[in-house]
């Protein structure tokens, strides 16, 4: 494996973590949005708030990680993506601002009206942000980002594949979140909420699966290179994702107390890496290869060192945070 390929793998590791934790975080916002008005949605909102509050900030640092690795290790790709897809990227940034502010302010505001407005800002942007991020990924996969940048600002992402991937991002985030929330409700011994999120996990899984299948058709017509590799080299990962998804459906239907999270996470991880394998060796199919976009070796070495330090320092800290949160040693009210 060349240094550039290793750096690309690090980029994908970051993207995987973001898809998992950031995705679930957005999904929590999605369920908040559709929980119903005030009294009806109060209980699920409480569950969502309790499980998101201590971890949402850490969940989003993965996005910064991805951006920094991209611009340090593959500067031309970063620049090409941002000069072409600036519209959805700016809209995603707008969503990030509204979402963070809404979430941070909502807890601390007393007035019902303000709290509602903040809650709405949080919930709506939880849907729009992953949608626009999905269109960015879809536009890249479709080969709509030229290596030299400054591609078409609108037709690049206003196409069936990017829009479908955007919808799939929202659905799979909702699916992940629902599965995580089932676990949180179980731990809290709240059977009503456990059933509530089980039903939603099931629904979201079906919808995400439907988008994924529609996405395959769109890949076939808009992103032939990615489609061909996905159905050849990437096939084991696609199958793995399907198996995880199917197993989860069975477990949910049966209502057994099987571990849900590894299955849900497995399905998402397999898709992210399936995408990576399908694009290989391109960062921007089919105009910019990984090795063409790569920064000099010394820069890559630093990226590796930073990644190693992150693995040694950040991951254990993160594990500590999640463990404390799961053991209810962190109190969201404070």
């Amino acid at each position: 494996m060349s240094k550039a390929d290793a750096a690309a793998a690090i980029l994908w590791v970051g993207a995987t973590f973001y898809a998992l934790f950031g995705g679930a975080d957005f999904g929590g916002g999605f369920w908040d949005l559709v929980a119903g008005w005030d009294e009806r949605g109060r209980r699920p909102r409480e569950v969502i708030q309790r499980s998101l509050t201590p971890v949402w900030e850490a969940n989003h640092v993965w996005l910064i990680f991805v951006l920094v690795v991209l611009w340090t290790a593959f500067p031309p790709a970063f620049s090409a993506i941002f000069t072409t897809l600036y519209v959805p990227i700016a809209l995603a940034a707008l969503g990030i601002v509204l979402r963070g502010a809404g979430f941070a302010f909502r807890k601390s505001i007393v007035g019902l009206r303000e709290r509602r407005a903040m809650g709405a800002a949080f919930a709506i942007s939880s849907v729009l942000t992953p949608f626009f991020m999905g269109t960015v990924v879809g536009a890249i996969a479709a080969g709509n980002v030229p290596a030299e940048g400054n591609g078409d600002a609108f037709s690049s992402w206003l196409a069936p594949l990017p829009l479908l991937i955007g919808a799939m991002f929202v659905a799979s985030g909702a699916y992940l979140a629902a599965v995580f929330l089932v676990g949180d409700a179980r731990r809290a011994g709240d059977e009503e909420m456990e059933r509530y999120f089980e039903r939603r996990a099931l629904g979201a899984a079906v919808v995400a699966g439907a988008f994924a299948i529609a996405g395959l058709f769109a890949l076939h017509s808009e992103a032939r290179y990615v489609f061909d590799r996905l159905t050849a080299e990437g096939l084991p990962l696609v199958v793995l994702s399907l198996l995880c998804g199917a197993a989860l459906l069975v477990v949910l239907r049966r209502g057994g107390r099987w571990p849900l999270r590894p299955l849900a996470a497995g399905a998402v991880i397999a898709v992210v890496w399936g995408w990576g394998v399908a694009q290989f060796p391109y960062l921007l199919p089919t105009s910019l290869r990984i090795d063409e976009a790569a920064a000099p070796d010394a820069t890559m070495t630093i990226v590796f060192i930073v990644f190693a330090v992150a693995a040694v320092v950040v991951l254990p800290s993160l594990a500590l945070l999640y463990t404390l949160a799961q053991k209810d040693l962190l109190d969201a009210e404070h």
Binding site: A93, A101, A298, S317, L329, A332, H334
Partner: protein, 461 residues
């Protein structure tokens, strides 16, 4: 946008102006929140430590309140920081394309620090109730280290833009080799990063103290308020005198490394020895108008000798000269002036405290402290104006012009307008939330203060 047609600018110049304004505005907004992220943890932990060591429940209450306030500012700061990293690509794609491989390294390191800080902040904020008191205290300590480390790496990236080194370019201007240590430890890193870290401690120290000074002026003279004033003010008073030395070193560094920036901030037009130090005034091509001049002092400050030759703006090629000389000059003077006034305030406080272990009795002291926080923030902004506007027309000093770095995307004025509205809401929201938190605490009353560690405090070692 019809209004823009009134501006006598070519499309590309118009884009550049919009991008620069948006970057300046979002950076100016974010920098205040970053200061809080860098320096509030230490302030909070001092209160926490005092509280645990001496069983002082007021100190613990302060630590707890500050941590709750930080939960809000950190969340807003994380958001505005994310916006900045998007802006690198949205506004300055050519800069990142050409130099990301060189200076991106600094951000990669900063990323780690920020990540760890976010994690331990969450543990600290949400761990008050259920973690053991000393375990909880120690969970906050990583934030102090990561705050300083993060500030160092980000400022190293900025210092590199002022003093680029540690990379090799090929004929096409592409970076072909990088020496990461030279990038990180460029000649400007030392003075810029220490200057900024101290600035963060000054901003936070004076800002937090000013909040309690306002409360005391309103007659809330309880122990909680006094402690809330004394702890942060002491920290600021330690940072301030050191800052003057570091700032002085930084100015000499700028004179050495970026003579054009130095000439503009000191309003020097003719190269030569025996330069006058101008305080205030307006810079014109015919020299400085309306300033107080101290003959020879400028040369003396640069080289400890009035014979020291200082480069003037007339020796700088026109197309490499920074714009807005008066703005630069007055910003620099305002920063130094505010810093000196804060030093005076620090000395006053330190002297009276040394004499009789109390704050000065006169309300004028509280009045001075109550504006010191805002003053420190103004000084911070002025410093960044000097750094950034003073480097223009370069984005990477001597290597890349800002005009070459800017995006060709349309609608930057629109995005700037949107950012203004959005950030106005963000700022208002943050202030309203912080105020409502403070009102709630006040209604609970200082007397009702109980140890936040309530059920466990007896077991505390």
């Amino acid at each position: 946008m019809p209004l823009l047609d009134l501006l006598p600018l070519a499309a590309s110049e118009s884009n550049l102006l919009a991008a620069r304004e948006q970057m300046a505005f979002t950076l100016g907004f974010h920098i205040v929140l970053s200061c809080i992220g860098v320096a509030l943890p230490a302030t909070m932990l001092v209160a926490n430590y005092v509280g645990l060591k001496k069983g002082d429940e007021h100190a613990l209450e302060l630590a707890k309140r500050w941590s709750k306030a930080m939960a809000v500012t950190f969340a807003v700061g994380a958001v505005t920081g994310t916006v900045l990293s998007f802006e690198f690509g949205l506004l300055w794609p050519e800069f990142m394309d050409r130099f990301g491989a060189a200076f991106g390294v600094a951000f990669a390191i900063e990323g780690i620090f920020f990540f760890v800080e976010a994690i331990f902040l969450a543990v600290y904020i949400y761990g008050w109730k259920r973690l053991k008191p000393w375990a909880h205290f120690w969970s906050g300590v990583p934030m102090v280290v990561t705050g300083i480390g993060g500030a160092f790496s980000v400022v190293a990236a900025n210092a590199w833009m002022n003093q680029p080194q540690g990379f090799t370019l090929d004929a096409a201007g592409k970076v072909t080799d990088v020496e990461p240590l030279k990038v990180l430890f460029n000649p400007a890193t030392g003075y810029e990063s220490v200057h900024m870290i101290l600035a963060a401690y000054m901003v936070v120290g004076f800002l937090v103290a000013s909040i309690y000074a306002v409360g005391m002026l309103k007659g809330r003279r309880d122990r909680l308020h006094k402690l809330g004033l004394v702890i942060p003010l002491t920290i600021a008073c330690i940072a301030t005198p050191v800052q003057l030395f570091v700032g002085d070193t930084a100015a000499r560094g700028v004179a050495d490394h970026q003579p054009a920036k130095f000439a503009a901030m000191e309003c020097i037009y003719e190269t030569g020895p025996d330069q006058t130090e101008y305080l205030g005034g307006i810079c014109t091509d015919d020299g400085v108008k309306g300033a107080i001049g101290i003959p020879g002092l400028d040369s003396f400050l640069v080289g400890w000798d009035t014979d020291t030759e200082v480069t003037g703006l007339n020796s700088i090629p026109d197309d490499e000269e920074p714009p807005a000389h008066t703005l630069l000059h007055l910003s620099f003077d305002a920063m130094v002036g505010i810093g000196s006034a804060l030093l005076g305030l620090a000395a006053w406080f330190a002297f009276v405290w040394w004499k009789r272990r109390d704050i000065p009795r006169t309300p004028w002291f509280l009045r001075a402290v109550s504006i010191s926080g805002a003053a420190a923030i103004v000084a911070l902004w002025c410093g960044w104006i000097v750094t950034e506007v003073g480097r223009q027309p370069w984005i990477v000093q001597g290597y890349m012009r800002t005009s070459e770095a800017v995006t060709e995307a349309e609608g930057i004025w629109f995005s700037f307008a949107l950012v203004l509205v959005l950030y106005a809401g963000l700022g208002t929201g943050a202030i309203l939330v912080l105020r409502s938190m403070s009102r709630r605490w006040r209604e609970q009353g200082a007397e009702s203060v109980q140890s936040p560690y309530a059920p466990q405090s007896e077991e505390a070692p």
